[in-house]
């Protein structure tokens, strides 16, 4: 330690580089906050990078490459398209650089660990939550992200299965490109055709909030989102959104760095660490909000 304190290049034994899917959404800001906090708590240099949006897949691969080039002690990655990072990560492990994955797993045997919960499970939880608020045979609408975004696709898939299992009728499944405004339009249009929609599941909270806005004044239709952003939690407290599935982004970030450091120090860690899922509804929303506010001052 201390041999390389070159700030600009940020490499060195006692440093961890975290490459996220993006840094420009609240969810990933929580991951970032967790990772930073861990760095502070444990006294390790943490560099956090990520492309401008989740769809910049190759850009993320480039970032991993550039990070490896600076020889950190370990690298923590949340792959946008799991399969794409495998070749470059193989290169890293060949150079004895420990690799940890968070949030999204990849089919990569040489990884040191995966920390997170998979999106499919999150979707299932969302589906179950929504089903619990409805009657058998009710009509349900699904708001998806841009098609091809694998995390969003998995959430929709999970939710759909649970909802169908519980006997709900899926009357619409439409994409809204993770855009709040588009989600609102999409929901409005769905309501034109299906006035009897009784519940909505959305692959993220932004779209859930957009859909909610379209349903204002249309009676009590529960909307379930995913992610657990501040805005969503506040909406739940205000009695608008029915609930959201939070994947503990902060913990993922924190544990990612924590475990990376352990690996650097030669400690053995679990290959698969579950960061847990929070189901946030009116009951626990207030306490969740306080936590979120404490981490993103």
């Amino acid at each position: 330690a201390g041999c390389s304190s070159d700030k600009a290049s940020g490499g060195g034994e006692e440093s961890v580089t975290v490459v996220l899917k993006t840094l420009s959404s609240p969810y990933w800001k929580y991951v970032e906050a967790g990772a930073k906090e861990a760095g502070k708590d444990l006294g390790v240099d943490v560099n956090i990078v990520g492309p401008a949006s989740e769809s910049q897949v190759i850009e993320q691969v480039n970032m991993i490459e550039d990070s490896i080039n600076q020889m950190p002690g370990a690298i923590v990655v949340s792959p946008s398209q799991p399969s794409t990072v495998v070749p470059v990560l193989k290169q890293a492990t060949q150079g004895d650089l420990p690799v940890l994955l968070i949030d999204t797993d990849a089919d990569f045997d040489e990884k040191t660990a995966f920390i997170g919960t998979d999106n499919y499970t999150a979707g299932q939880e969302g589906g179950k939550l929504l089903a619990s608020m409805l009657e058998k045979g009710d009509s349900v609408a699904l708001i998806a992200g841009a098609l091809g975004n694998s995390a969003m696709d998995a959430r929709i898939k999970g939710a759909k299965e649970e909802l169908e299992k519980a006997g709900m009728k899926i009357v619409a499944e439409q994409p809204a490109d993770s855009d709040k405004t588009k989600a609102m339009s999409v929901m409005e249009n769905i309501m034109q055709k299906n006035k009897d929609v009784k519940g909505v599941f959305s692959a993220n909270d932004d779209m859930a909030l957009g859909a909610l806005r379209a349903l204002e004044g249309k009676g009590d239709i529960p909307v379930i989102g995913t992610d657990g952003t501040v805005e969503a939690v506040e909406s739940i407290i205000a009695g608008k959104m029915a609930g959201t599935i939070a994947q503990s982004p902060y913990d993922m970030g924190y544990q990612g760095v924590e475990n990376a450091l352990k690996t650097i120090k030669g400690e053995k860690i679990e290959k698969r660490i579950d960061s847990g899922i929070d189901i946030i509804t009116k009951e626990n929303a207030q306490e969740k909000l306080e936590f979120l506010q404490s981490i993103s001052k």
């Binding site: 840094l23 420009s24 959404s25 609240p26 990933w28 800001k29 401008a52 949006s53 998806a144 098609l147 009357v171 619409a172 499944e173 439409q174 994409p175 855009d179 709040k180 405004t181 609102m184 339009s185 999409v186 409005e188 249009n189 769905i190 034109q192 055709k193 932004d206 909030l209 957009g210 806005r213 952003t229 501040v230 805005e231 506040e234 909406s235 993103s296």
Partner: protein, 331 residues
């Protein structure tokens, strides 16, 4: 030059003026056909409720496209509208929600931020003499989006006061105020472009920049006005967006420039400048909105939506091409 027509034209008859009308708003046929098909396919399409829906949904793009028309008329482009929208509403959020100032001040600041970035585009283009607005506005697109992210640490802002939500969220009877705003803005722009000196200069610059300059037109000044207006319209569209979803988020308007440009071009404007009308642009924006609405109504699955949008864009413009070709043959 190549379409030299020697025939004496007939006195302006009824028939001619209808042709003239279609000539101006050729994409209208595309819109009518598209609407016709959707009416057949879904009984929900042609209802007052749904039409108001479309009106509301089209308003953001309609405003952006109206702003975009100006740069395109001058043979330019403005890639930064989506980012300007974002930075304007984030600043407004900070002023009127986070800092709790008067909403009127928030609205003013929002529009001023839009005007500022638009003006910056104009200055970069004319004073720095960058070769094409693609460069200057691509730069601003990144800068404005970066600032939108930086000032709020990527967090959205919700809970805007009623006054700010008014434009985008309220109705007069069944009619969304945002659509009334669209109509008013289009009328103002129509008058501006056809009846004022600066408006005509915009066409002149697009038609032949050199000739405009030699005719004593201050080309730089007009271009700065053009981009400033485009920035202003982006902020106005942002205001409507905030009213619509009651929140501002830094990725708002991402890649909206494509829809805006598409509306302008589908509406018959030329990338080479000098050609295009506000009404054509409105029709272009409506075609896009109707299409999206129809796809949702028909519950077309996500993967097919993209392909269908592609086909319809081409078809809508092709209808216009066919019409023009026919009317040329016929004359």
């Amino acid at each position: 030059m190549s379409e030299v027509i020697i025939q004496k034209k007939p006195a302006p008859s009824e028939k001619k003026s209808f042709k003239h009308f279609l000539g101006k708003f050729g994409a209208l046929i595309g819109l009518i056909i598209l609407s016709g098909i959707l009416t057949l396919l879904s009984d929900k399409f042609l209802t007052v409720n749904n039409i108001m829906n479309i009106a509301r949904q089209s308003s953001i793009n309609a405003l952006l496209a109206l702003g975009m028309l100006l740069p395109i008329l001058t043979a330019g482009i403005d890639l930064s509208v989506g980012s300007i929208l974002a930075v304007s509403i984030m600043v407004m959020g900070i002023v009127s929600v986070t800092m709790g100032f008067n909403p009127i001040l928030g609205i003013l600041v929002c529009l001023l931020v839009g005007i500022f970035f638009g003006w910056l585009n104009g200055i970069l283009l004319t004073k720095l003499r960058l070769p094409h607005p693609f460069i200057s506005t691509l730069g601003t697109m990144n800068i404005a989006r970066g600032i939108a992210l930086i000032i709020t640490a990527a967090a959205p802002i919700a809970g805007f006061p009623f006054m700010i939500q008014f434009l985008g969220g309220e109705f007069i009877g069944p009619i969304p105020i945002s659509f009334l705003l669209v109509i008013v803005m289009y009328i103002i722009f129509h008058i501006f472009l056809t009846r004022t000196q600066t408006g005509r200069y915009i066409y002149a610059i697009g038609g032949n920049k050199e000739a405009a300059h030699l005719s004593g037109i201050n080309v730089d000044r007009v271009l700065i006005i053009v981009y400033t207006i485009s920035g202003f319209m982006a902020a106005l569209a942002g205001l409507v967006m905030v009213g619509r979803v009651n929140s501002a988020f830094p990725l708002a308007g991402l890649s909206y420039e494509l829809d805006a440009i598409a509306a302008v071009i589908i509406g018959g404007a030329s990338f080479f400048g000098g050609v295009g009308t506000v009404w054509g642009t409105l029709i272009g924006a409506m075609i896009i909105a109707v299409l999206r609405n129809g796809l949702n109504l028909l519950n077309v699955s996500a993967d097919f939506q993209m392909a269908v949008i592609g086909v319809v864009i081409i078809a809508a413009v092709y209808v216009d091409v066919l019409r023009q070709r026919k009317s040329k043959k016929g004359s």
